[in-house]
């Protein structure tokens, strides 16, 4: 460097730019975000500060998408980037390529806050969980188009239960904006409707990588899904908010595939069992019928119908006999009744009274019972037991 060289402002700023940009082409700086502003252009501006100093920072739109999560004021972060100098103003800033929360504390706190809030709303209640279909034939999967996750799941499906149609909704599964894409995927599958179950999946990664599945929009969309949702995010030890609201949490994407479809061999076994049971049931049924018919055929009566006829005629004879006896009894009874009536009638015969010395007076054929019914010159007949005497009242 030449001592006491004279510069113009532009020259100096250009020189400083060269020195700074070459000297700080890649820096990592720790600080707290403040004054964060989303410009309409999509770029994000903020100040990175610590207790005594601050640094301007710019986050270009193209990089926002790749962030694990959207930066917020007050967040303690580790920023990676390079120093750039704005010659016109003689200012410098950090051009941010990535932002990570400082330690898991920040994210953990956000996770716990959301978990508590949604839990209080009842979104994790077991009663809300929808049962999974026993034999899904169409499965919607919301995950990344690239990467091993989809392939791993496809292999499980092919091995276990290939009679499937998988409907993929390709989404980004990490970075700012991923949460909205995942939520939209679940909404689209619900709007489309023609799937039996939805799997929301992502492979393993850091807490930041999995962060989209801890966003409220994802949780609420899963909770609102009409179609049952299985969450399959990260490894067994990773729990996300999506896991708590899902109808079923699978420890990994491959495990989700295993849980959602049955093993074809087991189902074929069931089908064979059913066919066997049906055959056996029917065979035993037919056997019973055959036995019954056999016993009928072997029975004495079936083999010698004449016996049956004999037994019938014997019965008829008995009936006839008893009927005859009954008729005789009835006749005897009637006869004795008749005799009684005859005796009573005989007792009433007037001739027997006349024989005892009485006479009977009749006028025009009618018996006269009182003296008052006779008048002078009435022609009457007086009957004695041995004959009638015509007479006139005087």
């Amino acid at each position: 460097m030449i001592v006491n060289q004279q510069y113009t402002v532009s020259e100096l700023n250009r020189r400083i730019k060269q020195v700074l940009e070459a000297g700080f082409a890649s820096v990592v700086v720790v600080g707290e975000i403040s004054n964060l502003k989303h410009h309409t252009s999509g770029h994000v501006y903020f100040t990175l500060k610590d207790e005594t100093s601050q640094l301007s920072a710019v986050l270009w739109r193209s990089r926002v998408q790749n962030l694990p999560l959207m930066p917020r004021d007050g967040m303690k972060v580790i920023v990676t980037g390079r120093i750039t100098v704005y010659e016109v103003r003689g200012t410098y800033q950090i051009d941010v390529t990535s932002i990570k929360p400082l330690g898991v504390g920040e994210l953990q706190a956000a996770f716990e806050r959301l978990k508590e809030k949604l839990s209080a709303e009842g979104l994790f209640d077991p009663g809300r969980k929808k049962p999974l279909p026993q034999y899904p034939e169409r499965i919607g999967i919301v995950t990344s188009k690239t990467g091993a996750v989809l392939q791993d799941m496809m292999h499980v499906f092919a091995r276990r239960f290939p009679a499937l149609t998988i409907l993929l909704v390709p989404v980004r599964v990490q970075g700012a904006g991923a949460a909205e894409e995942i939520a939209q995927g679940v909404r689209d599958l619900n709007a489309f409707g023609n799937v039996d179950v939805i799997i929301v999946a992502r492979g393993g990664g850091s807490l930041e990588d999995l962060w989209a599945f801890n966003e409220e929009v994802v949780a609420r969309t899963i909770a609102a899904s009409r179609i049952p949702v299985v969450s399959a995010v990260g490894h067994e030890i990773d729990y996300t908010i999506a896991d708590f609201v899902a109808d079923l949490r699978a420890p990994t994407p491959s495990a989700a595939a295993e849980l959602v479809v049955k093993d074809r061999a087991a189902v074929l076994e069931i089908l064979r069992d059913y066919a066997y049971t049906m055959r056996e049931s029917l065979a035993s049924r037919l056997h019973q019928h055959r036995e019954h018919i056999g016993s009928l055929l072997k029975s004495h009566a079936f083999n010698r119908p004449i016996d049956l006829l004999h037994s019938h005629s014997q019965h008829m004879d008995e009936l006839t006999r008893s009927m005859g006896a009954f008729a005789a009894h009835r006749y005897a009874l009637a006869a004795s009744q008749m005799r009684g009536v005859g005796q009573r009638l005989a007792a009433l015969d007037p001739a027997r009274t006349l024989k005892r010395g009485y006479a009977m007076v009749r006028k025009q054929g009618r018996i006269i019972g009182t003296a008052a019914s006779l008048h002078t010159d009435d022609d009457v007949t007086i009957s004695f037991h041995d004959g009638d005497v015509p007479s006139r009242i005087c």
Partner: protein
């Protein structure tokens, strides 16, 4: 309709299997008349055959859900696979 719905006339695998289960149970109980048993047995055999055939399908189909310009959903074959 913007979406192609599943053919309503064809029972799902689950429905077929449920029906088959029902038939097996009824035959096992043996409380249906013999004529009816024979008819159920025939239906059951047919169901178990079609279910097995469906399981024999060799490949998983992968499709991609896509929204066209009019906002209607389409199932596209996934060329990338």
């Amino acid at each position: 309709m913007p979406t192609k719905k599943r053919d309503q006339d064809i029972p799902t695998f689950e429905q077929s299997l449920k029906r088959l289960e029902d038939i097996v149970n009824r035959l096992e109980r043996g409380d249906v008349p013999l004529e009816e048993s024979l008819r159920l047995y025939e239906e059951g055999l047919e169901l178990s055959k079609t279910c097995s055939e469906r399981l024999a399908k060799a490949e998983v189909t992968l499709k991609r859900l896509s929204k066209n310009a009019k906002g209607a959903f389409e199932e596209l074959d996934d060329e990338a696979e």
